[in-house]
Amino acid sequence: MTDFILKRMVSLVLPFVQMLGLYVIFHGHLSPGGSFSGGIITGLSLIAFSLVFGLERGQEKVSERMMSLVESFGALWYGAMGLVGILRGTTFLMNKGAGVPLGAPGKLYSGGLILLITLGVGLKVASTMVTLFVALMEEEE
């Protein structure tokens, strides 16, 4: 696609879309939204870039290898956060009972492990969207 207006508009809008996606992920424990919705917003911004500028330039920005690394990292990160509870002598995925500092409600750092887990799951959902899109868009060689 070589549409001038489309390219300029996407260049203008995409940074704000990505900012919104990261905002929704980081404020999952404070406001409506969370890891899944924020991850999908972030992933869709990358998909929109690939749609307008072409799959090759999209692949330059986020390579397939990086996406698969992020994908695996998100799943492992969740399990690693669960191990915090075991290391502190309680059960798997324990949050308050494991002595994680909860912080003041309403601040960005509150909710203990919730923020960290949301971050991992959000990145994972974003990479899942992009990977699915790329896998379906790639033409047969």
């Binding site: 424990h29 969740y78 949050n95 308050k96 994972k124």
Partner: protein, 97 residues
């Protein structure tokens, strides 16, 4: 003949289903089985138990953390399935099969 048997069986099943429906509590009534101590515990204890203002996040990622953990695994499995079906693999020397 088999038509008649089917009709009789359907009527029997329909009567049972209608009996079950007539026993259902009214929509929004306070004494449904779903309105038990679990929901009360979540509403009263979400803030002090997790420190998160968003009760949905508190339930999804703290109380029901196992559920979400397996949910991310579902995403992972979906990606693996798509790759299995759509991607052409390479062997150990990097040659396309």
């Amino acid at each position: 003949m088999s038509n008649k048997i089917a009709i009789v069986l359907l009527v029997c099943i329909g009567v049972v289903v209608l009996l079950a429906i007539s026993e259902l509590p009214l929509y929004g009534s306070p004494d449904t089985p779903a309105q038990n101590y679990v929901a009360e515990r979540y509403i009263e204890g979400a803030l002090s138990d997790t420190g998160a203002l968003n009760m949905v996040a508190a339930i999804v990622i703290d109380y029901r953390a196992y559920d979400t953990l397996i949910e991310t695994t579902v995403l992972f499995t979906a990606i693996i399935a798509v790759f299995l079906v759509l991607k052409k693999g390479t062997d150990r020397r990097g040659e396309h099969k």
